[in-house]
Amino acid sequence: MVTASNSTATAAAAVRVERRWRRAREDALLVLLSVPLVLFLTLPLLALVVRAAPVDFLSNLFDVEVAQAIWLSMATTTTTLLLTLVLGAPVAYLLARRRFRGHAALDTLIDLPIVLPPLVAGIALLLAFGRRGLLGQQLSILGVDIAFTQVAVVMAQLFVAAPFFVKAATAGFANVDREIEYAAALDGASSFQVFRMITVPLSGAALLAGAIMTWARALGEFGATIIFAGNFPGRTQTMPLAIYLGFELNLNRALTLSAILLLTSFLVLFVVKVLLRQRLQAWSQ
């Protein structure tokens, strides 16, 4: 009796050890397989930060044009993100929850700005909203000129970046368990309450990932912006434009600007991910 229970105990211990070994082997393999891509992605970024001399970094940070570019980038990308959330969520919900004629076409249409070269996006925006554009002509008569303004900067960012959120949110909404929504509706929740209290929290991770992609893409936006909004320091010169023009003027300055862009993006993305993930976990429980 005693020996029997002993032997089962040792057998169980052996299984546990074996499992731990297996896990360790898997971990080692996984790390080994991940190294090439991680190295490839981080090495150029590291080279940028290393080349940007710390002295230049500080003096550039307090340069008026650099500060203007940082501020303009932050203000326009925040606006773009808010607009994307408000305008993109309904489209994503429509795509995730309704089947209709032209569903596949609409879904594909949303993909297009992602594949379009940004320069072409800029020209398309000009042809639509420029002074002689399809819609721009009417706007111009009303005294509204969009090109060369901050509105144009936001529109360029919205055009190229909004699809990222819509794609992610569509997938997120589609994965929410409909039974829970039905249960809430049965308990008397209104459609909007169900959306706000059930759908959004349950698809929170996907929405967050989409929002981050959109913000990051908007922050790096260059081609559409320089065509549609032009380049004017303090008005339409965002960080990528300042970096591009700086690259031709002074390589060191461009490098420090790039390092600033990288570090701010990293900080913002990191903080948002950590903070919001905690909030989301608390929320969905």
Partner: protein, 273 residues
Amino acid sequence: MMWTLKRGYLLVAILLLAGCSLPGLSANSDAKNNVTVFAAASLTDPFRDLALQFEADNPGVDVVFNFAGSQQLAQQLAQGAAVDLFASANEAQMRAVIDTGRVTEGKQRVFGGNKLVVVMPAENPAGLSTLQDLAKPDVKLVLAAKNVPVGDYSLAFLEKANSSPQFAVGYEEAVLSNVVSYEENVKAVLSKVVLGEADAGIVYSSDISPDVAGQVARISIPDSLNTLAAYPIAPVSDAPNLALAQKFLEFVLSPAGQAVLAGHGFIPVEEMD
């Protein structure tokens, strides 16, 4: 079976397409008869014509171009791009490349000139007729950025006009306050004007090619206020194909080459000062 066959064809088609769109690949395979030329964006049209003639005169030879702002080309040269010839829109960027050692001092030759002109959309929405009109309120003016040669010359024109008695006090400041964008290259300035987004822009006279001439109106800038831009060309000291580079350079300076440049609005060398 059919299905996989079809997919195979599709794959081949895609690969062929990809191959066609990568001129770099085919260019490298036969480097002996290639001459790679880095040329200022403003030289795009005349240099393409020159290349056609040069290739016709020298069968089997391929002229490969990289057109961009001179400052960008100078940066790429400084970073070690493999190039045979460099044609700059100004002395400053040629000087920058000489300083990096990629071009030997004394090898550069001026091959043509260019000057500034104010352009407006053909229907002239702001109703501009004189250089003084550029200072009128609410004119949307587009200039090239100051690190682009033409942008630098545009600022020099405004500075000279400012101290000329023919222009009102504060002319330079008034015009600069009308600038809505500093574009990254001269072609972008012209595009904004042709598209009608800007009321006026300052470009090189050579930028107004025959196909845009009908779409723009222009105001000339007198020589006393203008900057005559001298375009230098030089073989790169470690050119992979130095002999061919030298041959193309001679062709640009030959009467035939100079005639092509003149046809595109450039000032031939013998007419410069």
